[in-house]
């Protein structure tokens, strides 16, 4: 009898732990002059940083349900990152122009797909998100649709790692490096998982989002300033505001609008970029003196490195020009061109000590955001380009470009983050 009670109690605790995936769906018309309906709902999960596949339906007076498409906000484009309260907006006048409708009900259908969502894919033909457990990108591939009609993002789990370098790292005290000591080694903890694009954004991908003329070019898109990517008004306010706000007329503003503001798309912080670069994939991270596949530096003349040759287009092998993305080996979690090809913009404003005090550098920093807004004004870039030597292609290598400037060897890598 006693065992039975223990069993029942344990079963109750077990079942209680798995509360409803979706609950508290409430709807109301916002106000009549735009007629839109706000849909509030709550997503639950026992997992940290869950991923949900979400759809919305409606029906009238208990009739047949139909899929809602004129949506904006959380889940409007199919995928939601993170649990908690969510809000989407249904443009009801698109379905019911100038009329009164009673007996409406809206349903939220949610499935947690965290374990299957190693990748999130943005389809650039209809601007919806889907997920996949594995990539269709081979180790080294050319001409893939994932470089033109889609953008693939790789999940990077939360964790703690060492960022930067010290005197034991080749290049740190190189006499030709004027920015030495700008990468002090310190421990960083990123508390939320995120997704980072496996390729530098190509001209083809960029053109589908930002241009009237679609290009087929698979080289990285360059010559776009930080201000163009995020905007010079709201987009320049990081990290005063850490809600990832951007100008609506910026590249990211247009991209978010096309994806119905369903997910937060942004540049990676320096912490995210370096964490993804050093990630081994099993919760551990690469240390110093190695390239992003774990192979050691082997350059003896500071010009050629046989191990870097396999991973990067850089000065010794690029022929002085950019190359199609993803034509060198990826890092240990499948991210391409971290070294070389083009420098990549980061979200943070630059500071020699990452915007941290010496005391903070001595501790674990959680979710670093860089220097204060408009400090410089400089932003951060990462890991060298096609015209740089191996030293400039190292993982901790960073620089400080002007946020309003454009450069022919600066590209874009995107992340999906939890707001």
């Amino acid at each position: 009898m006693r065992n039975a009670f223990v069993f029942i109690f344990a079963a109750f605790v077990c079942l209680s732990a798995f509360s409803n995936t979706v609950e508290s769906v409430t709807c109301h018309q916002r106000w009549p002059w735009d007629g839109k309906v706000e849909i509030d709902y709550v997503l639950n999960s026992a997992n940290a940083d869950p991923v949900f596949d979400v759809k919305f339906y409606a029906k009238v007076n208990g009739g047949e349900s139909f899929l809602l498409t004129d949506l904006e906000g959380d889940g409007a484009a199919g995928i939601v990152l993170g649990a908690g309260s969510k809000k989407a907006t249904w443009d009801a006048p698109q379905t019911y122009p100038s009329q009164q409708v009673s007996g409406l009900q809206v349903a939220v259908t949610a499935e947690e797909v965290t374990s299957s969502a190693k990748y999130i894919i943005l389809d650039l033909s209809n601007y919806t998100f889907s997920y996949a457990a594995s990539t269709n990108v081979s180790t080294v591939t050319t001409g893939s649709i994932s470089k033109s009609g889609e953008i693939w993002f790789r999940r990077v789990e939360s964790g703690t790692f060492y960022m930067g370098s010290d005197s034991t790292d080749w290049g740190y005290f190189d006499s030709n490096w004027s920015s030495k000591k700008s990468e002090p080694r310190h421990q960083v903890s990123l508390t939320k998982a995120f997704y980072i694009s496996i390729f530098e954004t190509t001209v083809a991908q960029f053109s589908k989002i930002d241009s009237e003329t679609v290009s087929a070019s698979l080289i990285p898109k360059t010559s776009t300033s930080y201000a163009y990517i995020r905007g010079s008004d709201k987009g320049a306010t990081w990290p005063t505001y850490t809600d990832h706000r951007v100008d609506t007329n910026s590249f990211l503003g247009r991209m978010r609008a096309k994806t119905k503001n369903s997910l937060t798309i942004d540049l990676p912080t320096e912490g995210q970029f370096e964490m993804a670069s050093r990630s081994v994939g099993d919760g551990t991270f690469l240390g110093l003196c190695c390239w992003n596949d774990g192979s050691p530096y082997v350059s003896t003349d500071k010009k050629v490195d046989a191990n870097l040759d396999k991973l990067a287009w850089y000065k010794a092998n690029s022929g002085g020009s950019m190359h199609e993305v993803g034509t060198k080996k990826p890092n240990l979690i499948g991210i391409y061109d971290i070294h070389g090809n083009v420098w990549e913009w980061c979200l943070d404003w630059y500071d020699n000590k990452y915007g941290l005090t010496d005391n903070e550098l001595a501790r674990i920093t959680a979710d670093p955001v860089g220097a204060p807004t408009n400090s410089g004004p400089k932003n951060s870039r990462r890991c060298g380009g096609y015209n740089n030597t191996p030293i400039d292609c190292r993982i901790p290598r960073r620089a400080q470009p002007g946020s309003g400037s454009t450069y022919s060897d600066y590209g874009i890598r995107l992340v999906l983050v939890q707001p």
Binding site: W31, P32, A46
Partner: protein
């Protein structure tokens, strides 16, 4: 056995949590016919009429800013609005310059948190008098000889008329020459329908006009409601037609007469 059953239940729970789950909202109604809820109607006030159909907000602020002048008007701040039914509010603002467009902002709040902000650019659809502005080079001149003087409006480039009229109102513009007399007369030079922004190139003649009179160029606007207004294009009288001068022929006749008299006296 209990352990086995427990594990089965655990497995079932995990499986259930991974399956798609659908939750329906309570029933609700919408009225998309109420899309236009901000309106300006008055001819002598900035008049905002709103209908608020409820929602999660419990406070609303309405402000207006003149897009030309930058003048800001706080129209109303509402608190404790009924969130379950529609509410209609009409508000007037005095002393607004009704010739310009207004950016209306409707901000709703829940507590101290802004729920949403909606904006609309509106203009007053009214029967107000027009006060447009003119640009371009133009002048008044005369052609012809007595007694057939006629006034002509000369332009050296396009004359642009830019008014604050709301679009959609039919208007007629007349350009006239007004005489400076105890009982002024006006002489039509040009007449056309115009909209808010017009470009004209004029070269029109009036009917015959009296000489020895000063004329000022003026325009007249008449809108659909019949309201009229006059405004001088030029601040000063632009032309005065002088009396007919002595002709050279008469001068020659007089000169010959005096010359002959002088010649005869000597003889």
């Amino acid at each position: 056995m209990y352990l086995l059953t427990f594990l089965l239940l655990l497995g079932a729970a995990v499986s259930a949590s991974a399956a798609p789950e659908t939750v329906w909202s309570d029933t609700f109604g919408i009225d998309t016919a109420l899309a236009q809820t901000v309106d300006l109607k008055s001819s002598d006030h900035l008049f905002v009429s709103t209908v608020w159909y409820g929602g999660i907000a419990d406070e609303a602020d309405i402000t207006a800013v003149g897009l030309t002048s930058g003048a800001a008007y706080d129209i109303v701040a509402l608190k404790g609005a009924n969130s379950t039914s529609s509410n209609t509010w009409d508000y007037f603002v005095d002393n607004a310059d009704l010739r310009e467009n207004f950016l209306l902002t409707f901000t709703t709040k829940s507590g101290n948190e802004t729920v949403s902000t909606e904006t609309a650019t509106v203009r007053v659809a009214s029967t107000l008098q027009d006060e447009g502005t003119w640009s371009g080079n133009f002048s008044l001149d005369t052609i012809g000889t007595a007694p057939g003087y006629r006034l002509t409006l000369l332009t050296t480039d396009d004359i642009v008329y830019d008014s604050h009229w709301a679009e959609g109102n039919d208007r007629v513009i007349k350009v006239r020459a007004i005489s400076h007399e105890a009982f002024p007369s006006s002489y039509d030079l040009y007449e056309s329908s115009v909209d808010g922004h017009g470009t004209f190139n004029w070269d029109y003649l009036s009917d015959e006009v009296p000489a020895d009179v000063t004329y000022t160029l003026a325009y007249e606007i008449k809108n659909e409601a019949g309201t009229q207004t006059y405004a001088a294009i030029c601040a000063q009288p632009v032309i005065k037609i002088l009396p007919e001068p002595l002709t050279s022929c008469a001068f020659l006749v007089l000169a010959a007469f005096f010359a002959m008299r002088r010649k005869g006296g000597r003889g």
